[in-house]
Amino acid sequence: MPEPADNHVFRLRVWGRNACFTRPEMKVDRVSYDVITPSAARGIIEAIYWKPQIAWHVERIHVLAPIARQKVRRNETVSPPSLDAVGRDLHNGTTPRINIRAHRTQRDALVLRDVDYVIEARFSLTERADPPYNPVKHADTFRRRASRGQCFRQPVLGCREFPAAFRLLEPGEPTPAASHAGEQSLGWMLYDFDFANDRRPVFYQPVMRDGVIEVSRHAAEHTAS
């Protein structure tokens, strides 16, 4: 696929009061990863602008705020609504319902608190792109939407109940300093899902150096197999 002429890396600052990048193994009583996953970062960018003609790649993540956790306990239901049941109700003309009392459970969540990241990402054109290949158009559209705060859906920090605020950093603007110093290994984290292969989860082992995670480099090292 033809690469865009300007391989421009956009820098988007996102922040929010709470975030939960749920560890797959602690999905019931949720425990969040220490930092944002590339998958969640991609989700935020795609919420601002995405079309089948482009694919976003997260290059780098800056972790600006210290890592702090907060525990919440919420009442939830045990099963999601059944599509069949909803379909039947609509067909019969009755209002679809969920019986909360019959299916309730309590779930804890160990979420992050006061997060602040800068996501550096670039896009490439996909097979769905038609000639004439015009990456500049997409770049301009993203830049415009991100600057204005436009999005298709509310960008979120992992879970939909944790909205993300965002701001595009201008080309000359320096990236804010991170509050982390030194090198810290983050263990094995979710990189993203392999949508080409049965939505299999792929893991990578990032290292945070002075608050910066070189996502693309780590991903290349570990997902080559």
């Binding site: 560890r23 797959p24 193994e25 602690m26 999905k27 019931v28 009583d29 425990v31 220490d34 702090a68 956790r69 907060q70 525990k71 306990r73 939830e76 239901t77 045990v78 099963s79 999601p80 459970t105 309590q106 779930r107 804890d108 160990l110 983050l186 263990g187 094995w188 979710l190 899902f193 939505r199 299999r200 989860p201 792929v202 893991f203 990578y204 082992q205 570990h222 197999s225």
Partner: protein, 624 residues
């Protein structure tokens, strides 16, 4: 990082060896009560009772590392290799009804098939013996064996059994030849699929569908990783395939958790319902020998955490490197949930414990007539006694998290504590309840219970102040919060001080020490609606000071001066009347309480101060 830290702990403990090392891969620590001693033909020559006796003389099973698959056995028939209940090994039914005996027969058959299959090709004498046992044994023979060995069949019902070859000193499943057989068959024990393990990152590992059960003790068994209900699944994956963990990694983290959860090993402290585990890759091993209290740096740290006291830093010594803190609790529906996770260092932890004491003013010995409060005491005194277990569980984790990391104390806990303080007369009730078997704080703190509550409020305000965003306007600095600040103009604070002064006047004026003061009757009203309550309180106070002045003019004037000074500070700059707020928000109520206690601390009258060398005077005592 949680699973990875556990796996690393497992590996380091296995490498270190020793009797308390975690079980090897493919094994789990299980109880055993009886051992069948076989001769080379597979005949039972003896049955050993291998139970030990506890301190109180009660028998308990010995533990051994037996071959076990990861997933728990449910009610379906599924035999274990070489170490199982008598139902499987001997076909001994657990009762007498038809169903039960039929089931025992079925289970014996299954065990027999499994052992004959696995042991078919081995020529290890023990393996041969066990195989021959299963080839020749029929459940009906139990009676004659019982007679020959002197063990009653009833003793064996539903007991876990293991094998030993005669003239050896170890159990059959401890032999290396049989371990080799088990390892060969290990991959087929659990339902797996290939994938990338999220703990080790290795590709093409067998990913397990079902995870092992973790036992926190007292019947709290559940899974750390489970996806039982439909709401927890994603992308159409079933069970464990939602979170790929390899079979090896699962054995390791489960083994590590078992090791950490064993009290004797010195990593565990139970704070309320929360099980807190603290470990470090580099700490020297702790030693627990039977009933002796484990010593060692981690155990000392745990003790400090649990009681809330200052740890003795010499006993802790030097633990370099990271320190992991994991808090687990039984949440619901057979789940063990992570309530607390922190990666810190021993130095940070100690510093934060010290900061906790300092922020709450707990280091001021003068205030405590008895023990220092433990972490669980704060919860009890906020009205979250053990009876209200559901609510209590919400708060332990966040409180501990605040202490460990030096962050803000939970607002909800402060709110409950302030509520308790508002209901005056609590102190008398607390003292009465000291005879009650429930609740340590009442037993130990009695009249000091309110002081503990006030300490929590103080700590909450201090940390709120410290971590406040810069934009927030603040009326009281951190220094002001720590000790009496006569010049501070914060209205809520001054009102608290006023209340304390008025109460002191009331007590001083009374001929006989009153059982109930305005602290018992008016505190709640004053803190909730100052504008309504205080005019009347001040009027009453004037009666009291007048009465004092009749008897002791100097003292009376002193009281009036105190009251006037405080009220003067309540004035708006150009108003003639003092401004009483109509109501106070939560933080204002906290400052009111703080003012009240600061004033009480500082305000002994000159005469009381002279008398007060040993203990609080009669007047102060009665009002607490």
């Amino acid at each position: 990082m949680i699973l990875q830290a556990l796996v690393a702990h497992y590996e380091s403990r296995r490498a270190a060896g020793g009797p308390d090392a975690p079980p090897p891969i493919g094994y789990a620590a299980v109880p055993v009560t009886h051992v069948l001693v076989l001769d080379t033909n597979g005949t039972i020559t003896a049955i050993d009772d291998v139970r030990q006796t506890s301190q109180r003389g009660r028998p308990y099973a010995r533990r051994t590392n037996a071959p076990r698959p990861l997933a728990n056995r449910t009610s379906t028939t599924r035999p274990h290799f070489l170490c199982d209940t008598s139902e499987y090994i001997l076909g001994l039914p657990r009762g007498e009804t038809q169903n039960v005996t039929a089931r025992a027969r079925e289970r014996f058959r299954a065990a027999s098939d499994l052992h004959r299959r696995y042991l078919a090709d081995s020529d290890d004498p023990a393996a041969v013996a066990v195989r021959r046992f299963f080839e020749t044994w029929a459940p009906g023979r139990i009676a004659q064996v019982a007679e020959a060995t002197g063990v009653a069949p009833d003793d064996l019902v539903a007991q876990p059994i293991a094998f030993r070859l005669a003239d050896t000193d170890h159990l059959v499943h401890e032999r290396s030849a049989l371990d080799a057989i088990w390892q060969e068959h290990l991959p087929e024990q659990d339902d797996t699929r290939p994938g990338q393990c999220l703990v080790t990152g290795a590709h093409d590992m067998p990913i397990v569908r079902l995870h092992p059960t973790i036992d926190l003790g007292q019947g709290r068994q559940g899974k750390l990783i489970s996806f039982g209900d439909p709401a927890y699944r994603a992308h159409g994956h079933r069970q464990g395939f939602n979170a790929p963990v390899s079979q090896t990694a699962a054995y390791k983290y489960a083994g590590a958790l078992q090791h950490l959860l064993t009290y004797d090993n010195g990593y565990r402290a139970d704070i309320g319902d929360l099980v807190v585990l603290v470990w470090s890759p580099s700490a020297p091993r702790t030693h627990g020998t039977g009933n002796a209290t484990p010593s060692g740096p981690i155990a000392t740290l745990m003790g400090a955490l649990g009681t809330g006291r200052q740890p003795d830093s010499d006993a802790i010594g030097d633990i370099p490197g990271p320190l992991y803190v994991l808090g687990l609790a039984y949440t619901a529906r057979s789940r063990i949930g992570v309530q607390l996770w922190g990666e810190t260092t021993a130095d940070d932890l100690l510093a934060n414990l010290r900061a906790h004491h300092a922020d709450m003013g707990l280091d001021r010995r003068a205030l405590w007539s008895k023990d220092q409060p433990a972490i669980a005491d704060f919860l009890d005194l906020a009205g979250l006694e053990t009876a209200h277990h559901g609510q209590r569980a919400r708060f332990i984790g966040p409180l501990l998290d605040a202490i460990l990391h030096g962050r803000r104390y939970p607002d909800a806990l402060a709110q409950r504590t302030i509520n308790q303080l508002r209901h005056g007369g609590r102190a008398a009730a607390d003292a009465r309840r000291s005879d009650d078997a429930s609740g340590r704080p009442y037993r130990l703190f009695g009249r000091d219970a309110d002081l503990v509550r006030a300490a929590l409020v103080r700590g909450w305000l201090v940390r709120r102040q410290r971590h406040a965003p810069d934009s927030r306007a603040t009326t009281m600095t951190e220094e002001a919060l720590m000790t009496l600040d006569p010049d501070n103009i914060d209205p809520a604070y001054r009102l608290g001080r006023l209340f304390a002064t008025l109460e002191n006047a009331q007590v001083t004026a009374a001929e006989n020490t009153p059982q109930r003061t305005i602290r018992d009757t008016q505190f709640g009203h004053a803190i909730a609606a100052p504008a309504a309550a205080f005019p009347r309180l001040i009027r009453m106070g004037q009666h009291h000071t007048a009465k004092i002045r009749r008897g002791q003019p100097g003292l009376g004037r002193w009281f009036e001066q105190c009251i006037d000074d405080i009220i003067a500070g309540l004035h708006e700059p150009d108003a003639h009347q003092p401004a009483f707020p109509r109501s106070l928000d939560l933080e204002g109520q906290g400052r009111f309480i703080l003012g009240y206690y600061h004033q009480r601390e500082a305000q002994f009258t000159p005469k009381q101060r002279r008398n007060d060398n040993q203990a609080p005077t009669a007047t102060m005592e009665a009002t607490q």
